[in-house]
Symmetry: C2
Subunit: 244 residues, 2 copies
């Protein structure tokens, strides 16, 4: 399936272009367009900052103007940190990527423009866009680094595309223990505790139940039960061995 | 309301610590803890990379070990890019911040540990955490920059805390035009088009309806109507003026 195109308008620092490529690659985006980079292109410093995302940098297309860079697209977002007095729909990155996904699903080409590090996009550039993306930042400290802004959009895109799938899930590799193993562990533990007079007079039933509740909260696997049983045995027999 | 604590374990580069401070400030986090930074602390380079988030850097607390850095917390997340074979719950940044918000709402102290740039957290450090955070990256390019990882967690926190509020909304400042103004514009436009024989024989009703539909899609404000009316007048009268 097609994906959003990232368009950098007059980026100033090669390092930032490289970090943008890395952020895109982290979330599966690959089409980068660069409009009139201040110091030319390609540039030293971009590759090292991309730390491996060279396929994005080497596939990057260079343009002289914004109209050329967006000519083949059907829908364009402009990112901006502040109100520009233009009557456009304003999206957060999550809602914007939902909109992008629907349009891309219909075969539309969707691009997202990011402005210069210091000054952002000019109003005339924003006027070429269909809608605005801004970020839910703390108003007291709203200046996002260029690569960070690209990262948030790429992240929200991939969250939708991968349906939130994580690289690993942390499922237990061992199934929950069968009740028989757990009950036998309880019997063994309580017998050993009895043997050292752990339970005060008349208190064994309630104390045993409370301890069983505690161990149930562990949702023990077979391996957990083996491990705990071994630990109890070691304590009990170690004690016996220490005895004269 | 209290917020999550960001804990950097043996960060290597001062620039990354500064960028972490900036990412935290962007989303309203301020409590930074640093465990045994490789090259000591404070460090040149951090302040410039923080580009203004000095309150976070200057408030940062330094620790010798992870146990000291998390001693006063009730719940700790460890961030990791790969499966570590530890039976812990694994969260994405969004679900993790929901969990954090509930716990903080109950008065718990919640921290998030981030490891070294190259090697991440050690398994023994992860074993001190209650749960794991990992990021929904592209498995083919999963290495997130340290500040980028902190940014995503901070962003998801602030999205919940601010309930997705954006710094500006882009609502129209002028109300939608009253129907009377719109109908009068249609009448004027159609009269001017009639005057130059725009409509082929018998086609006026259907063509007029289609053009009205088109203009309705603009959801015109009073100002929009005034602007369009003026443009039509300029075209019509300019034409008349050009006539001999």
């Amino acid at each position: 399936m097609a994906k959003p195109v990232i368009i950098l308008v007059e980026p100033q620092l090669a390092e930032n272009i490289g970090m943008v490529a890395r952020a895109m690659a982290n979330f599966g985006l690959s089409e980068l367009r660069i409009v009139a980079p201040r110091d030319g292109w390609p540039r030293k410093g971009a590759h090292s900052a991309a730390s491996g995302a060279v396929h994005v940098l080497e596939g990057a297309k260079l343009y002289d103007t914004v109209p050329e860079a967006i000519a083949d697209l059907n829908f364009v977002f402009a990112t901006t940190a502040r109100e520009r007095g233009q009557m456009k729909r304003v999206f957060g990155p999550d809602a914007a990527m939902q909109e992008a996904r629907e349009r891309i699903g219909e075969g539309q080409g969707v691009g997202i423009m990011f402005g210069r590090e210091r000054t952002g996009l000019e109003n005339d550039e924003i006027s070429l866009a269909d809608a605005i993306i801004t970020f839910p930042v703390d108003p007291k400290f709203s200046s996002l680094n260029l690569a960070q802004a690209v990262l948030l959009v790429s992240y929200e895109w991939h969250k939708l595309e991968a349906d939130g799938a994580l690289p690993f899930s942390g499922e237990r590799r061992s199934p929950p223990a069968e009740r028989e193993a757990i009950i036998s562990f309880f019997d063994y533990l309580e017998a050993e505790l009895d043997a050292v007079n752990f339970y005060p007079e008349d208190k064994k039933p309630i104390m045993a139940r409370n301890m069983r509740d505690m161990f149930h909260r562990l949702e023990m696997t077979e391996q957990d039960v083996r491990t705990l049983r071994g630990a109890v045995r070691a304590l009990a027999e170690g004690r016996r061995l220490r005895k004269p």
